[in-house]
Symmetry: C2
Subunit: 444 residues, 2 copies
């Protein structure tokens, strides 16, 4: 498939817009999106304008938000209003968050009154909450109705709703009583009361964190979840495709941070090189400054090093192994946090597990290190290496397991505390441990 | 919430099964699953037996597969058959994959004939393909029908189907012609022909890789996708909640491998310490053996080190920075691969980007290193550090960007080539570069 998309890109480069226009009518909307996401900014603007209007709206809707913004910047006002109007309220708000405030206000003014008021509802919740991601367009079913009445309402009012497959059931005060599925309604006799068809609802409060809500929706396999205010009144609905979006963003963020860079928030090939560089340079500088600690530690022990240069041979191996061990623990715990398998309250349980895992790993590697280094460089050196591996692995696993939990407790992204941060921390402390053990064992 | 679940666990420890049984009736199925996933093996078996039979089936269905297996091992044959029967064919097959073959066969024999034949269909496809994850229970709509006929069929035959919200439309040869949504059917007049309601279908071939299919389903926001054979005949359907499962497993795997360990395939707190240790020790040993390369490199340059011990002070900083840079590139490219933003064919585009990013980062850090090291240790040393940083960053970013693509081309998991692997690779090559530059600049 990518091969075919590259052929299309070649048509663009060769200045054959007519043939490209023809070719674009022959591939699906999804493939068109993939095609656009692989182009540079200018090529994408050209290609986008070649799409028939109906297709363009669908494609625009599925594009990455950073790319939507670029396309909007390149269009005339009247066209922009058209695309803007076609978005769902929650997607529209997410796009507006990225625009200069003056542009966003102007966009809002062009919307038709109904869409404007829906957008206003979503805009009222703070960024990062599920309120910002939900849809205020839903069909609620009164609990005293029967299946037939509910189906009639869905046929009548369902057109604009975000979903009609999962429907919140409410009482006269609009308080959430449960959910009913369209499948259940269709399978029931006309006269069956809704109360008999409805099931208990997992719901989220509107100012709840969006990522947690998305994880809940995915974990419990819901197609949609009602969103309520604090009094349990239904204010919106949140669907599994919103959840997928949120989780994909969160996971890209975690992956980037674990690798020690900021997330790009856009497809790799469509990101300018300078922007990729900027996403990395700050972390790299911070870590390099942290790493100067290792220079200072070694400086302190320079006399030890001078009297026994062989000690310096093992420095990369020891700190590398420490970094790897810490990294393994941090990654495991970060993922468990993201999946909700552990929480900040589990600090002691996690610490106790990682101390044991680290010590076992350290004993295994330490024995190996003792034997190999001992055979080659003498048993004195072997003992130093073996003991250091035992100490470093235990320390690194414990620190690696704790840091993400600590980060979460401090309200920071736990993934930030994974790999590169741990490596830098373990490098410095590991060297101190190494030289202290060396001095003690070798009597330097 | 976790606080409340810990209170329940306390009831178990205090030997109050009656109070726990009572408390369990008051929490939702989802919360019960969370509760069980935080317990040890024996406690979980006890708690599970306290659940009312109807709830137990629902809970069993939502449990992590590794935990399902443990529970089944602790039950009597008659009970096992009951739980086994309640699973969907695809979930059943996934569980059977983990059982000893003899047990799996016995289970299969206990199933009722219809379920057994459905399970047989799924079992016929190889592990890792979408055929293994799809459901063979779907409702297909003939293209020559109208909306009313389709709705009648759904009401009649929909009960056992995996989903009724997205329905494959087929011709008389059962070839896939498109999909129609239940929403579209409900919103249409009775007489509207299906051909007018149906839309183009994104479908997957049955022996396609499951992860790619899941990513496609999530990217294109489909609630379900038809699965066809090579002749384009519909053989099954694949829903978004299957996709969510597959992606969660794939992402846990990527996260673990990026951290240099094997995925646990089960919730962290419910995993025995020895098993966590085993998931890490192999990688750690492999990397440690790789790291002995650094000892050998340093051994070769020992005379250089002896004549100028100050060079050894910068070893952790230089290789750490190299590791971080390589790691950033590898993580970005691995994620882009997972999201389908780049493919193995993009090797040259990725390489060219990473060379530029690496060189820019190297120039920035190199200038800083030159100034700081120059001021403290003299301009000779400053030049060595600055030049080495420039070289290492360029090299590390290029290698980090290439390795995941190479891995993919070789059919390995690209995430394996991320962080720890790159760090070890960069450690050894970085040291060589460092000492060569030092010898050249300092005339040693």
């Amino acid at each position: 498939m990518t091969e075919q998309l590259d052929d299309l890109a070649a048509l663009l480069r060769d200045g054959e817009p007519q043939r490209l226009q023809q070719a674009l009518t022959e591939i699906s909307v999804g493939d068109t999106v993939d095609f656009l996401e692989r182009l540079g900014v200018r090529d994408r603007a050209v290609a986008f304008r070649l799409l028939p209007k109906g297709v363009a709206v669908e494609v625009f809707d599925m594009l990455d938000q950073s790319l939507q913004l670029e396309i909007i910047e390149g269009l005339k006002d009247a066209d922009v209003a058209h695309f803007f109007d076609s978005l769902d309220p929650d997607d529209r708000v997410r796009l507006m968050d990225e625009m200069p405030a003056s542009v966003a206000r102007q966009m809002l003014r062009h919307l038709d009154p109904r869409e404007r008021s829906l957008t206003g509802i979503v805009l009222g919740y703070s960024s990062g909450t599920i309120g910002r991601e939900m849809s205020p367009e839903f069909v609620a079913i009164p609990e005293q109705w029967n299946a037939q009445q509910a189906l009639d309402k869905i046929r009548r009012a369902g057109e604009n709703a975000e979903t009609i497959y999962t429907l919140p059931v409410v009482d006269r005060q609009r308080l959430l009583k449960g959910v009913v599925s369209l499948r259940g309604l269709l399978g029931a006799e006309d006269e069956t009361p809704i109360a008999d068809l409805m099931t208990e609802a997992d719901s989220v409060i509107v100012d709840h964190e969006a990522e947690d809500a998305a994880r809940l929706c995915a974990d419990r396999k819901h197609l949609a979840m009602p969103v309520t205010d604090k009094e349990h009144r239904v204010v919106g609905i949140f669907t599994v495709d919103d959840a997928l979006d949120i989780l994909e963003r969160a996971e890209s963020e975690d992956a980037a941070r674990q690798g020690g860079s900021e997330p790009l928030h856009r497809p790799y090939l469509s990101t300018p090189v300078l922007r990729i560089m900027r996403s990395r340079v700050v972390w790299l500088l911070v870590l390099a400054v942290g790493a100067t600690l290792t220079v200072q530690v070694l400086d302190v022990f320079e006399s030890t090093l001078e009297s026994l240069v062989v000690l310096s041979l093992f420095v990369p191996l020891l700190i590398g192994t420490g970094g790897n061990t810490g990294n393994q623990a941090a990654t495991t715990v970060t993922r468990a946090l993201a999946l909700g398998d552990v929480g900040p309250r589990d600090v002691m349980r996690v610490l106790w597990r990682e101390v044991r895992v680290g010590a076992t790993l350290g004993a295994t590697l330490g024995t190996g290190g003792f034997l190999v280094a001992g055979l080659v460089y003498g048993w004195d050196i072997g003992s130093v290496i073996g003991l250091t591996l035992l100490a470093i692995c235990t320390m690194a696993a414990s620190a690696g397991g704790l840091m993400p939990l600590l980060g979460k407790k401090l309200g920071a992204d736990p993934a930030v505390f994974a790999n590169p941060f741990i490596s830098t921390f373990v490098d410095a402390t590991g060297l101190i441990v190494y030289f202290l053990i060396a001095r003690a064992v070798l009597g330097l």
